[in-house]
């Protein structure tokens, strides 16, 4: 590590093969066009009320998961939206079990800090209550939504979570009868309606959250689901959009895989879902200029502070050109893989900067995994 800092002037290896979980390492480099599309889409959802469905297409390793994590960061969302009402954003993978709707519901509830919500909405609770009455006709669902946002003293946040998870004992459930909550959540429609209700409440008046952004990653796995789960997933997408007419931005990440009998994943999405798509954002395979811009920005973000070196340091520019030319049309992940390996091999041999001699001698290793 010390070599990396001393010789290569980098605080860490910038070329991660999978997106980082550490927020500070999660940076956006290059690909200004794609970034701008996401920013515009989020800005639009922050400003205008209507909900939208956006498909993100790209090759494996083209940066879809990275984009989801990057645009869920508070410090990224803050400048895009109103700092007092940044979007409520969460990323989940497409559930592959037999209860996809329940699984998605749990993914959201897991990430919901009910105690904080109760405090946040306390001042506006009366208005929120009448808002709930207008958006939801189902009395049971209305009561549950009110319980979530109502004062901690009415029903404590632990009890609320227990109820939502379906873990509440029948005795405890009886204690909720005064709130007109007389049964557990059971049917799938309950979960969708509660989620839709929570999303609507969170963005009520766009006061605390300007919109809700949900990213469903690995959506291509829909092709592997059985008929029932495929049905449920499609219906969930349609219903959640219908039941949350405002302030919901739903991103679906799809990998452009070939399929045996159908031409693309579009065949697994029902017409009632595809007809609701507002936009598709494409993660094209990068061209040489994209790669070079990306690399420059990546290196500069990871470079130790106050160091003046050329923009591709520790790589010589001709090495970068040769690498790009040699590898052809590949994904960003493959590019990262090569750079990471190149850096590691050079570090082991204590070669710096990395010149064509190193590149040529490591070439066989670099393209070993390329099939």
């Amino acid at each position: 590590m010390s070599d990396l800092q001393d010789k290569y002037k980098l605080r860490a290896n910038p070329f991660r093969l999978t997106p980082s979980n550490k927020p500070e390492d999660l940076i956006w480099a290059g690909f200004a066009g794609v970034k701008e599309k996401f920013e515009k889409r989020i800005k639009r959802s922050v400003k205008i009320p209507s909900s939208s469905l956006v498909l993100n297409w790209g090759e494996y390793g083209s940066g879809k998961t990275h984009a989801a994590r990057f645009f869920s960061k508070v410090d990224v969302l803050t400048p895009i939206a109103d700092p007092d009402a940044i979007p409520f954003s969460l990323v989940m993978s497409l559930p592959k079990g037999k209860d996809p709707i329940y699984d998605m519901f749990i993914s959201v509830i897991d990430k919901l800090d009910i105690k904080a919500l109760k405090t946040k909405f306390a001042a506006d609770y009366t208005e929120l209550e009448s808002f709930i009455n207008t958006i939801e006709s189902n009395i049971h669902i209305r009561s549950v939504l009110k319980m979530i946002f109502n004062d901690e003293e009415v029903v404590g946040h632990i009890a609320v979570k227990k109820y939502l998870y379906g873990n509440m004992s029948s005795t405890d459930l009886k204690s909720l009868s005064g709130l007109e909550i007389l049964r557990n959540l059971k049917i799938e429609k309950d979960y969708t309606l509660i989620l839709a209700g929570i999303f609507s409440c969170l963005t009520f008046d766009k006061k605390y959250y300007s919109c809700v952004i949900i990213w469903i990653d690995e959506f291509e796995d829909i092709a592997t689901l059985n008929n029932t789960s495929m049905d449920k997933t499609n219906n969930f997408i349609r219903e959640i959009l219908d039941s949350t007419p405002n302030n919901l931005l739903l991103f679906l990440n799809l990998t452009q895989s070939a399929m045996v009998s159908v031409e693309d994943l579009g065949q697994y999405l029902y017409v009632n879902v595809t007809s609701r798509i507002k936009e598709t954002i494409n993660f094209d395979l990068p061209n040489p200029i994209d790669f070079k811009d990306y690399l420059k920005e990546m290196l500069s973000s990871f470079r130790s502070e106050g160091v003046e070196v050329n923009e591709y340091f520790p790589f010589n520019e001709n090495v970068v050109n040769a690498l790009i030319k040699e590898q052809g049309d590949v994904s960003l992940r493959r590019f990262n893989e090569s750079l990471s390996l190149l850096l590691e091999l050079a570090e082991m041999d204590k070669k710096c900067p990395i010149s064509m001699d190193e590149f040529n001698s490591y070439k066989a290793d670099l393209f070993l995994s390329k099939s």
Partner: protein, 543 residues
């Protein structure tokens, strides 16, 4: 006896004795007499064991006399044709087709004398094993004892050997010279069929039907397709080949066998009980109006024949190629004789594949075993085989590969020509082809052109011009095969579209695989092409 051996000796290049075999060598072919010695005690003292055992040349009649005077008993004759695989790479060598030679002898010899062969096979002999040998690929026909001392037969054999000349067409030379097999997964492709599915024309109707319906619930598809077909019922009744009609029924049972088969061959695709055209069939749909003849549903034109022939070969190679073999070996054959011949023939075919395949993977072995057991267990083959043979015979009739002459079925020139190609595929790999996918990807257009168009299609040598045409048609395909993902077409759809366009618009013969090779060229800068081997497909994007 001696006069026959003398005849062979005079006609041949050389003769020798080795390991109880007396063989006459005719350059690429040989006639081998197998004998056994009745007792060791009778060996002539003047001649050691060695003289009659190992590589002993025979140059004169006296030596033959000496041999037959020993206490030996001749058993069979083998007619062998061989090709040394070490010479395949030599581009000056003419590429013979061992399998076609074998069938040529079988057919010609049977013409006057009925079935002369006890058995026949092709294989590779790698020599004794102590020295490196590229191997000799050969066919061997074992002739029955009745013909052993038949002068007319001997003359006929020698005559055929001297005049035989079967060459593989030029476009195969590259693969012969490569001298390495084309990948064959060995997973047996077969289809289950119902006797009703006899008219390929109904799939032309299915194409236009799915153009209108796009997505249709599986449970109502059969009935709706029946409704759609009703208008053509009378048209079918007026055809010569008029069986397999789809009628209106309350449950859709009349269309069901056609729909089931469509699902099996993936021209119909079912996701979550919703049916739509399969990805390959969408290419047919796009080009149907331009290249097919929709006025006459039950007459297939070249475009239809090309599409359906490829579909059948890809999905049903085992049953179809076996049927073609029986038809070829019999100048004419009745349905009843076919019924008798088919089951044992299929069993032998599978057993041959099992024997020859030393590189079979578990999936392939399992499928072969499963199919073999199933075929062996046909309790009433005559009932079951109707479902198997009737559709296939009708498809072959519609594709002009056979004709019906009274109660007989006969192979046509087109059928013989097609068979010749399938035999060459076996020769390229020096073993029986089980799954022909990669052969079809390379040669389908060339084969079709040779069979149906007397090889009049163009092989464009100007690669630059050809690449530009390919790229332009790929560009074109984006208009028809746009998917939900932006700027993307599925590679197989674009590839097939280009293949048909080049052939029917420009008369240029290009393999489907060649189109992908053209896309993979480093100099190609118009498209991004990604291929995933496990799906045998990929996608193309414009740069």
């Amino acid at each position: 006896m001696l006069n026959i051996l003398k005849y062979y000796l005079d006609a041949s290049r050389q003769a020798m004795i080795n390991e109880n075999k007396l063989s006459f060598d005719f350059h690429n072919h040989s006639i081998v007499f197998n004998y056994e010695r009745v007792g060791l005690e009778d060996l002539d003292e003047d001649h050691t064991e060695h003289d009659f055992y190992s590589y002993n040349g025979i140059n004169e009649v006296a030596q033959l006399e000496l041999l037959i005077n020993k206490n030996i008993k001749f058993k069979t004759i083998e007619l062998i044709g061989s090709e040394y695989l070490g010479w395949r790479e030599d581009n000056n060598e003419i590429k013979r087709s061992i399998t076609n030679e074998m069938y040529y002898f079988l057919i010609e010899l049977a013409k006057e004398r009925g079935a002369v062969a006890e058995s026949y096979m092709t294989s590779v002999d790698y020599g004794p094993g102590f020295c490196e040998d590229e191997g000799t690929y050969f066919f061997c026909i074992i002739i029955g004892y009745d013909f052993l001392w038949d002068m007319e037969f001997a003359k006929k054999v020698v005559h055929l050997i001297k005049q035989i000349s079967i060459q593989a067409p030029d476009f195969y030379y590259y693969y012969f010279e490569k001298n390495s097999p084309i990948e064959d997964t060995k997973v047996l492709p077969i289809l289950s069929t119902n006797t009703k599915v006899r008219r390929l024309g109904y799939y032309k109707l299915l194409s236009s039907f799915l153009k209108l319906e796009k997505k249709i619930a599986a449970k109502s598809l059969n009935r709706k397709f029946e409704d759609y077909c009703i208008a053509h019922q009378l048209e079918l009744e007026n055809q010569v080949l008029n069986k397999g009609v789809i009628k209106k029924t309350a449950t859709g049972i009349s269309a069901k066998p056609y729909v089931d088969l469509a699902l099996d061959v993936n021209i119909l695709n079912k996701i979550n009980n919703i049916c739509s055209a399969g990805k390959g069939f969408k290419v047919y749909q796009v080009l149907q109006e331009e290249y097919s003849n929709s006025n006459s549903v039950f007459n297939l034109n070249h475009f239809d024949k090309l599409f359906f022939l490829e579909l059948i070969l890809r999905n049903d190679y085992f049953y179809i190629s076996s049927l073609l073999k029986i038809l070829l070996l019999n100048e004419r054959i009745t349905y009843a004789s076919l019924l008798n011949a088919y089951q044992p023939f299929l069993i032998k075919q599978i057993e041959d594949i099992q024997k020859s395949g030393n590189q079979l993977n578990r999936k392939a072995i399992e499928k072969l075993r499963l199919v073999l057991n199933r075929i062996k267990n046909w309790k009433k083959p005559e009932v079951y085989l109707e479902h198997l043979l009737m559709p296939r015979l009708n498809w072959l009739l519609e594709l002009d590969l056979i004709v019906e002459d009274g109660q007989f079925f006969k192979m046509t020139k087109i059928g013989e020509q097609l068979f010749k190609h399938l035999a060459i595929w076996d020769d390229i790999n020096t073993e029986l082809i089980v799954s022909p996918d990669l052969f079809l990807d390379k040669f389908m257009i060339h084969v079709f052109d040779d069979c149906y168009n007397d090889s009049r299609g163009i092989l464009l040598n100007n690669e630059k011009e050809l690449f530009i045409k390919i790229y332009n048609y790929i560009d074109d395909s984006f208009r028809f095969f746009q998917t939900l993902a932006p700027n993307r077409v599925t590679a197989s759809q674009a590839g097939n579209y280009v293949k048909y366009k080049l052939y029917f618009n420009d008369k240029i013969k290009v393999g489907y695989e060649f189109i992908f090779n053209a896309l993979s060229r480093k100099e190609q800068n118009r498209f991004i092409f990604k291929y995933q081997k496990q799906y045998r497909d990929g996608y193309i994007q414009k740069k």
